[in-house]
Amino acid sequence: MSAVKYEHATRTYEGSDVPAVDDLNLDVGDGELIVLVGPSGSGKTTALRMLAGLEPLDAGAVHIGEREVTNVRPRDRDIAMVFQNYALYPQLSVAENMAFALKQHGVPKEQRLARVRETARILDLEPYLERKPRHLSGGQRQRVAMGRAIVREPAVYLMDEPLSNLDAKLRVQTRTEVVELQTRLGVTMVYVTHDQVEAMTMGDRVAVLKDGALQQVGAPGTLYHEPSNLFVAGFIGSPAMNLVPLGDGRPVRIGGAEVVFDGQAAASVSNGSADITVGFRPEAVQVVADGPLRAEIRTVEDLGPEVFVHVTVDHRGDSVSLVSKMAPPFSGQLGESVGLELVGTTHVFGGDGSRIASTRGTLR
């Protein structure tokens, strides 16, 4: 039985004819942490707000557990939500903030205090219980917002980019704490972020959205290795996948070198006549002294465990930039002319952006 279910959920804001969320179908399993990710304006926050009941649905339905909640008031959906700016109640103390939801549902005072104290212990907020939100740091405020959700023990947790206002180091640390908490409590969580690294590291499954439409949903690995279309391929992974549009020219050539595909997919690609785009991850291309594809090094980013080499290739007259992930040490100098060699998987995308094939390719 799925904990959360979007069924053809659609929402179009007044005054615009383009739907913010267009015919979304998504099932979330019980106890699953699903991440909605996408650039700003992709409808991820709107989708979350539709689940929370803060945005009405223009079509379709939303279910929580076995109940359809499309027209149910937010307060009757048994959900908790952490907002991007935390939305703490300015006039109430930390304890009162955390106990607020329980108080609305008439939970007796001592029980409220017990649960608040328990949650405060988990999030080590005990010393701040009597403080007002404005006297807390960003990180503490974020934890209070989390605490407010946890105390409620709701059916579903909704998180709207809760870490985006934290500094980088705190963000990484809080990210792992959230995942630990979610697994330990075994609760269903719908998490929205624009940061694809956060998505890949936190989500049991990740749903990529663009312009209101669901591009792909699946495990992080699947998205990384088997992107369903050009957008997902380009969006997931950092630095992004190398994409070279080749139009309908056959045989498939990049710069001076020809790309040879092995496996049965190669046949359908090489003798077809549709426009295609070829893509390969940075780690799928290596810089070698004398490979068939000539390129010139532009910048070298040494991140310690790996080195990213940015090169430009002369492809049909204009220079295309590619990036390769090399293992240290890497001795290439700026401006040096080098060769490129394909080692990993090469993806082929059709004219409409959908992925046609993923095979090993070699340059000759």
């Binding site: 929370a52 307060r75 109640y89 006039q91 109430l92 609305q104």
Partner: protein
């Protein structure tokens, strides 16, 4: 006049060259924007105030025109024994407290009604603001002749239609009649402040409360009210300041008398309203100022949270 107002602008307009103007000490840099307003207020209000204090120490009759004789504290001596002044103060208190609270409650209720979207919201908001746009003299005349009038008043017309016996409001209950008129006139003032207050409330806090299970009434009681508290205090402060000065409404509606002469009308009667004793009138006014400062000090520094806030550097 415009030159003074310009100083705050001029000092900023200098293009921020690499070498900025000589570094003013931090506290002076903070005082700069305040100076024009502060200096103008000091000049405009303290000169007349000091002159008033001087007049209160003189016996100055204008009719028949007589010279100003310095009499020291004579004017103040019999002031405290004057029971007319006492009853005037009591009327002033009533004409400040009842209208302020009444218009605050109504103003807040209307602001809440108007904070939601509904068809024709802009028009209803304009309708609700108009009472405050009229001149007090006109408001007094409308209410006296057309609403409260025993024979021709609309209220008595309705009372008559409902079978009740018409009541002569202004004559029988002057204080309440003026208070009701003031409530009608000042509710829009309070509504404006409350509306601006409501719209400064962060929207995500309200959504969080909705998600947390609070009913609209629960949200108002526990969150909005607390958020509005500084605005209510601001409304009460500014409302009281203007209501203790009400004078033309009393003159037009009742022409003074027990239960309607408040302090401003009392002082008016003592000076240009017929008494023409500028010395005594100034004395009463200085006493009013002293009392007002005491009351304001207590209410602002102790009760209200308007002046609370972190002490600065």
């Amino acid at each position: 006049m415009d030159a003074a107002a310009g100083t705050a602008e001029a000092s900023e307009q200098k293009p921020r060259k690499l070498i900025s103007p000589p570094r003013l000490s931090e506290s002076w840099r903070r005082r700069l924007p305040l100076l024009p307003a502060l200096l103008i207020m000091i000049v405009l209000t303290q000169v007349p105030f000091v002159m008033s204090i001087y007049y209160s120490l003189t016996d100055w009759h204008v009719v028949p025109p007589g010279p100003r004789k310095f009499v020291g504290l004579d004017n103040y001596s019999h002031l405290f024994s004057d029971h007319f002044f006492g009853s005037a103060v009591w009327v002033s208190v009533q004409l400040a407290v009842i209208p302020v609270l009444g218009s605050l409650v109504l103003g807040t209720a209307f602001a809440l009604l108007l904070d939601r979207k509904f068809i024709g919201r802009g028009l209803v908001r304009t309708l609700l603001i108009t009472p405050f746009l009229l001149m007090p003299v006109v408001v007094g005349l409308i209410w006296k002749n057309q609403m409260f009038n025993d024979l021709y008043g609309v209220i008595n017309w309705v009372v008559g239609k409902l079978g009740g016996t018409p009541v002569d409001f202004v004559a029988r209950h002057p204080t309440m009649a003026i208070a009701v008129t003031l409530i009608w006139q000042w509710t829009p003032f309070m509504m404006l402040i409350m509306l601006a207050g409501l719209q400064s409330q962060p929207p995500d806090v309200l959504e969080a409360a909705k998600v947390d299970g609070a009913t609209p009434w629960g949200i108002f009681r526990q969150l909005t009210l607390a958020h509005l508290r500084p605005y209510m205090e601001l409304g009460i402060l500014l409302g009281t300041i203007y209501l203790i000065q009400v004078y033309d409404l009393v003159a037009v509606m009742t022409g003074g008398g027990p239960g309607s002469t408040n302090v401003p009308y009392f002082v008016f009667q003592k000076s240009i309203g017929g008494g023409w004793e500028f010395g005594q009138a100034s004395a009463y006014s200085i006493v009013v100022v002293v009392f007002s400062i005491i009351i304001a000090t207590v209410s602002l520094r102790v009760l209200s949270r308007l002046l609370r806030g972190e002490e600065t550097v």
